[in-house]
């Protein structure tokens, strides 16, 4: 299997790993351009013709994976390697296939999220309404119960009614996700959060939900709201939660 095929296979399987490439070498043994895949458990696929260099290469690759930061480094005098940390595309799950979901799915797709749209109404969640997305038309609770989420999952809850918001959050909150956002007025989200608190969800967990949703740009139309939500998703993906929270705090959303 060539290295590109292998990289694609690992990305499809949602692995985080390191692709190490020799970018400079003064040794005839170690060719510029040669590549080694280093997996998170430290196993090497491919390698250079020197056991001691392979150890150095593995150690550096693992440190890059742990820091989630690509870098280049000299593993021996005259031999420079680029350690590229690769992980699979962020996935966005949109619960609710109404007006906002259309531009939201489109914008999110454009900035590199792999998008799934879920709604219990099959006349809303259907493929031609959401080009290049996966659509699921099923009861929220049932669909979410079987859906795997993880550290690269982003969830936006924009259902048509607060009772569906509750159904979605009941299933989503116990799972791991990079981001969970909930749309709604203060009254509506206040009701949803209070109800969930009474059901036993901790205040801390409920506070982790981004609500009201989106970077505060004064959005009004569905397209503007979608833009504000996607901006927040990009911020969390690129800069992490702290920066997204800081932007909200700047206008008094986070109290």
């Amino acid at each position: 299997m060539d290295v590109i095929t292998r990289v694609n296979e690992l990305l499809e399987n949602e692995k985080t790993f390191c692709l190490a490439t020799v970018i400079a070498s003064d040794s005839a043994e170690i060719l510029v351009g040669s590549k080694v895949v280093v997996l998170g458990d430290g196993s090497l696929e491919g390698g250079v013709k020197s056991p001691s260099l392979n150890v150095a290469l593995r150690d550096q690759a693992l440190s890059a994976i742990n820091n989630r930061k690509s870098c280049s480094a000299e593993i021996k005098a005259g031999v420079r390697v680029f350690f590229n940390v690769l992980c699979s595309e962020a996935r966005l799950l949109i619960c609710g296939a109404g007006h906002i979901a259309i531009p939201l799915a489109r914008f999110a797709n454009d900035v590199g999220f792999s998008v799934t749209v879920l709604d219990d109404r099959s006349d809303f969640a259907y493929p031609s309404r959401f080009p290049d997305c996966t659509t699921v038309a099923e009861n929220f609770t049932i669909a979410l119960r079987d859906m795997a989420l993880g550290p690269s999952s982003y969830v936006v809850i924009i259902t048509r009614g607060h009772e569906h918001d509750v159904d979605c959050l009941m299933e989503i909150l116990p799972k791991e996700a990079a981001y969970v956002g909930l749309i709604g007025s203060r009254r509506r989200v206040g009701f949803v959060l209070q109800w969930l608190e009474e059901k036993g969800f901790s205040k801390k967990l409920l506070k982790s939900v981004y609500t009201p949703i989106g970077i505060p740009v004064g959005a009004e139309s569905p397209q503007e709201i979608a833009l504000s939500i996607v901006s927040e998703l990009v911020c969390v993906r690129r800069k992490g939660n702290a920066q997204a929270r800081a932007l909200r705090a700047a206008v008094g959303i986070e109290l």
């Binding site: 990305l11 940390v85 690769l86």
Partner: protein, 105 residues
């Protein structure tokens, strides 16, 4: 384009028998439009996918890519300086340098 889209595109091009090069930013210093890991694919007809920052810096990378694809067949490191004076028309004035690895695949 995300890394995943770049690698899928590389596989597609390979399946179609189209020769391509991959340019990756491997080091940066100062202000650069994209960071370490940003990638661009350049095909023999000049078509490109993804971006390593646009502007004149990117066209230097394209030239290097075509050179290694059509003539040398060997990877090369290209240093792009974005330190032009602010008065330079169409200049690269971001204020940093970046090192790119350009490889035929």
């Amino acid at each position: 384009m995300t890394d995943q889209e770049i690698f899928q595109k590389l596989a597609d091009l390979k399946n179609q028998g189209i020769d391509s090069t991959l340019a990756t930013i491997v080091e940066t210093s100062g202000s650069t439009p994209r960071g370490v890991g940003a990638k661009m694919i350049i095909c023999a007809d000049g078509t490109s996918f993804g971006s390593v920052g646009g502007g004149c810096g990117e066209s230097e990378v394209k030239s290097a890519a075509l050179r290694c694809l059509l003539s040398t067949q060997t990877p090369e490191l290209v240093e792009v300086s974005l330190l032009d004076d602010l008065g330079t028309r169409g200049g690269d004035v971001c204020g940093g340098r970046m090192l790119l690895f350009v490889e035929p695949l």
